[in-house]
Symmetry: C2
Subunit: 650 residues, 2 copies
């Protein structure tokens, strides 16, 4: 652990210790390519869209209703609606702080004023509880989400402090945090919130302010959970991870977003307190979840019923829940684990999740969203209403807003802060974790100024060029480049400034030397499309393969099939290779079966010995099946879609 | 349609018209074998068990609490808890009426007294609504279940009337029905209940009493549904079938039990009113549901989230919901369709569902139950608490009682009335639909007395012998025997009284002649075990096969595997045949893979081109895999289980 590092001040996560030092939004700029486009849409469309919807559905008005004493009558939305405003405020702060898109300072000021007007003198702040005619404060810790809401308020206050300096929102957040410590400290309400989130926020506030008591309170919440201080529920205490202490659990379990936020908070506490046992517990849980409970997209949580992780290897594509917020939370957890350990596998999963879950949620125009990210859509749905909130998970098309609308603002704050997840530094040099057109400038240990320029059309192309713009004084340092795990079995190469090319294995490729301005390092990643086969224990995808190209998971979508066919007509032939098509498509060898043939069977099971398969095999025509990146699906009207493609019969 | 038939008076379903005339509990006795044992356990264990649990958890006390004016304080259980008492009363009445097991007349009297004490002067009867401090009557038709509860009350009252003659329970039921007609008739509350059930009950009450207004009210409820008189919900109006009129729907959809009860009520209305359009609509929905939305077991409803039918071909075995009550409801619907049309396919599905869903729910001792009937259990669960109610669907072992405990009493009333589902008559003769050791005596058209004796060890064995004990006066009539659809592709034979043997195809085999006492007809059904392959569109079971033996679906259960292996180690080889083992087991050719080999992969997906499958294939040993009837699983302690078995690699 390296203590007392010089950290950027413009960071969502700023640990005081850990293997790697994060680079802030003032040190990393994303200048072009995939993520720059996504961030631009976020700044120019999603933020105002979210602000307008929250005004329209009355969630912003809830705060004013508290101030005006009419909240019992006028409150709108679910019990956690306050949190959406906080996540939007955080997103606006980071977006403003990176200098891209419009400046949201006036919005931040107006929304903050509404929020502040609802805060009680003792720091309590929630529009759903504690006012005349409402349930009392903290009377429903299982489902009330009060501490959950504070968590996002605190994160928004921190974002303001780190981008514009401490302002009114930061003050509101600190008053709330002080109230929490006074209320939930030792001797107070010795319980936890049904939805973790406050833990990571309090640690970050301790990092911002240097106040130990916020960290202590977060550690208390982590240690209290798992002792049954929450009432049992229909879904069991496992739903809110109150079944087992964090230190004893062996796998991520229960409600996926809750599990991931909790794990992120536990890593934060472990980093700040040097608690290696706690860190090791989370690493163990992460490893087990990745090995057995994660979709190919990086998505987590397969149950619709309770939005939870399923049992090991229960990963049905056609009922994949894979909530967008679980993707966001997984990226947050992975980033903390990466900073703590330096292990590139966390950046591998983050890349997979960013490209295939987080990037899948918003539409191309940034004004509608997937809440759940299924891997197989069986029938063309109707477009959700554009003028009403949607149920959270049932549509085949993105919806503009949801009754439970946690996902849009969660994507927004992630995209707004995305440059902070690109690179880190340590005493040896700089590490690149995610590849995008970017400019990076920081000071290495001892005040050694370094500036880099990254050029790439990743993930369309696999070549990443890093040019040294500045490196002074002249002394050796190390540039580390993540070689993604998805390159395994193919050939990735690194070309150093002398033009010497070497093959590099998945993990980390390093160049250590005295860099001179103008030096170029080139990483060549093999982004040819490849068949992916699942573990045989994932029963739901037996007999199928998927296609991945670089970090992108691909899918068949009905709009690309001839003659109005649906995707269930697709069979692919993995004995031949998929190939690049135009515009980032892939063309997979395969055939289209005539779906009308077996359509009339009155009963979908047959005795093997009476009807030889050959006589009922549907007719098929060989063809190249066009596949598109999964994150781009459902942007061309109602369609059917599948990621896992049945193979042709041998 | 044959009107004005002479019907038995001891019948759960007594249509005044229809293709077939049901035989009552006074005409059919089940005397031995599989169902006799199940019925004996039901009479000797399940009924008292249910009565005691309802006393213990306070659901019986709810009625007394109403009478004593303290229900607001003391009410226990969910909003539909009243209905469980009614279903138990119905089960007790049928059981008493068939003369098997102890007589439950004293229990019926005591429970009826409690129920009657809670009825309001105007006939209203519900312990969850309408009393001081409770929500008003009918203020929550979406979720309140008031009409649903009346439905079971009326069915219990009918069972009393048909077994012991009209008594206090029948009077309570009629008062409630009169109240419903007064309240929900034209000009009253022109809406429906969120849970169908009242429809079929009101039709049956019209059949019992001859009162047209009960039938009219049922028809009103059928025609009102699907017009959005219920509020939208998180699950959509499809959840309670209020999205589309019954006549317009093309497939069973939404909450499975709701859909099936509604369809049964619609058939009842159609039969009594001669509404062929309505009947055809339900037939169409049934056909589509059977072809695309039904498990191999006959189970219906795959979603845990909303207990609903999923999309076509979404039938995951490891998250099969297949609620026991949906099985019961499917049998009820099928029986009505059989009576209406005479088509044996309805008896085929009923047989499948009775043996593989209804018979699977209760434990061998009749004192614990499955609420959901999964087809794949991945890890050995812990036994549920024996002294507390269980959540409804999450355990791998049967539970003694549930917070939502609709299933135990639903199974109980089905088993109690089961002899009524065995045989029917028409102008030509007698039809046998289900095979069990039984004695049947009835009068054919014109007062022609007939008595039969059925001897079989079905489903262990496939031979069914029907002996004519009496047939007078001597004139020709037709004995019809269902030849199950599962015999397709194998050879079933019928041997007539002259010893002449002929092959019979699935459907109906008939013998028409002047039968003499002592004549024997023998049906020989091929109950050798057979591989079953699923439609390729059921993605979740691609690459697997199942085994069926006669009507019984089989499964692998870990307690039968060597060395503590779990069922996911099983691979079967469908190029060889499964064979009979001892004690109704089947031995399937296959192998057990060593599960530890692939256990350590950090990520469960691999690129096809880098790791040829042969190098990672786990070691396997050839063996005969013991399979047991699915309905018997989980009677030997915690285990893992699967119905669909992956095949060995080619």
């Amino acid at each position: 652990m390296s203590d007392n590092r010089e950290l950027s001040t413009v960071l969502p996560v700023a640990p005081t210790r850990g293997r790697l030092r994060p680079l802030g939004l003032d040190e990393v700029r994303i200048t072009g390519g995939f993520w720059a486009r996504r961030r631009e849409t976020n700044a120019n469309a999603t933020l105002a869209h979210s602000r307008d919807w929250m005004e329209r559905v009355g969630w912003t008005g809830n705060f004013r209703a508290v101030a005006e004493g009419r909240v019992q009558r006028d409150r709108r939305g679910r019990e956690f609606a306050d949190s959406e405003l906080y996540k939007l405020l955080e997103a606006m702060a980071w977006q403003t702080g990176t200098g891209t898109g419009a400046a949201f300072d006036p919005d931040i000021a107006a929304l903050t004023e509404a929020v502040a007007s609802a805060q009680e003198p003792d720091g309590y702040l929630n529009t759903a509880f504690g006012h005349p005619g409402q349930q009392p404060r903290y009377s429903d810790l299982e489902w009330g989400h009060e501490l959950y809401c504070y968590g996002f308020l605190i994160q928004a206050g921190i974002a303001q402090a780190r981008t514009r300096g401490e302002g009114e929102l930061t003050k509101v957040a600190r008053r709330a945090a002080d109230h929490i410590c006074a209320t939930f400290g030792r001797g107070g309400i010795e319980r936890v919130c049904g939805h973790p989130e406050i833990e990571t926020a309090l640690v970050e506030l301790a990092r911002l302010t240097g106040e130990q008591r916020y960290l202590d309170q977060a550690a208390l919440f982590i240690d209290r959970r798992g002792h049954g201080t929450l009432a049992d529920s229909e879904f069991g205490r496992v739903y809110y991870q109150d079944d087992l202490p964090v230190r004893e659990a062996t796998v991520l379990r229960g409600h996926a977003v809750r599990a991931l936020y909790l794990a992120a908070g536990a890593v934060d506490v472990a980093m700040e307190t040097g608690d290696d046992e706690l860190l090791a517990a989370v690493v163990r849980q992460w490893e087990a979840a990745i090995a057995r409970r994660t979709y190919l997209t990086g998505g987590m949580g397969s149950h619709h019923r309770d939005e939870s992780f399923g049992d090991d290897f229960v990963l049905p594509p056609d009922r994949a829940y894979s909530e967008t917020c679980a993707g966001v939370a997984s990226v947050q957890l992975g980033w903390r684990l990466l900073l703590a350990t330096g292990d590139p596998r966390y950046a591998d999963l983050a890349e997979r999740t960013l490209f295939n879950v987080v990037a899948t949620s918003p539409s191309e125009d940034g004004r509608s969203f997937f809440y759940a990210n299924t891997l197989h859509r069986r029938h063309r749905g109707a477009a959700p209403a554009t003028d009403a909130v949607s149920p959270r998970a049932e549509s085949g098309l993105r919806a503009p807003w949801f009754a439970v609308s946690c996902c849009p603002t969660n994507v927004a704050r992630t995209l707004a802060a995305l440059p902070a997840y690109v690179a880190t530094a340590d005493d040896q040099g700089i590490q690149l974790h995610q590849y995008a057109d970017a400019e990076i400038a920081t000071s290495l240990t001892g005040g050694h100024g370094v500036a880099l320029r990254v050029r790439t059309d990743y993930p369309s192309g696999g070549t990443v060029t890093v040019r040294i713009d500045r490196s002074s004084p002249a002394r050796p340092w190390t540039l580390s480049l993540r070689v993604p795990a998805w390159t395994a079995g193919a050939t990735a190469c690194l070309v150093d400034p002398d033009g010497i090319r070497r093959t590099v294995a998945p993990g980390t490729a390093e160049v250590t030397r005295v860099f001179l301005p103008g030096d170029e390092i080139r990483l060549e990643l093999p982004v040819t499309p490849r068949w992916i086969a699942p573990d045989p224990r994932i029963d739901a995808v037996r007999g199928t393969v998927a296609v991945q190209r670089g970090p992108l998971v691909y899918c068949a979508e009905s709009v690309d099939l001839p003659d109005g066919r649906e995707v269930d007509a697709v069979r692919v032939d993995p004995s031949a290779e998929p190939e690049d098509g135009p515009d980032d498509t892939v063309v997979a060898p395969g055939e289209l079966v005539d779906q009308t043939d077996p359509g009339d069977a009155p009963w979908p099971y047959r005795a093997l010995d009476r009807t030889p398969a050959s006589t009922t095999a549907p007719t098929a025509e060989r063809t190249g099946v066009v596949l598109v990146p999964y994150n781009s699906w459902a942007n061309r009207g109602p369609s059917t879609m599948r990621v896992w493609l049945p193979t042709t019969e041998p």
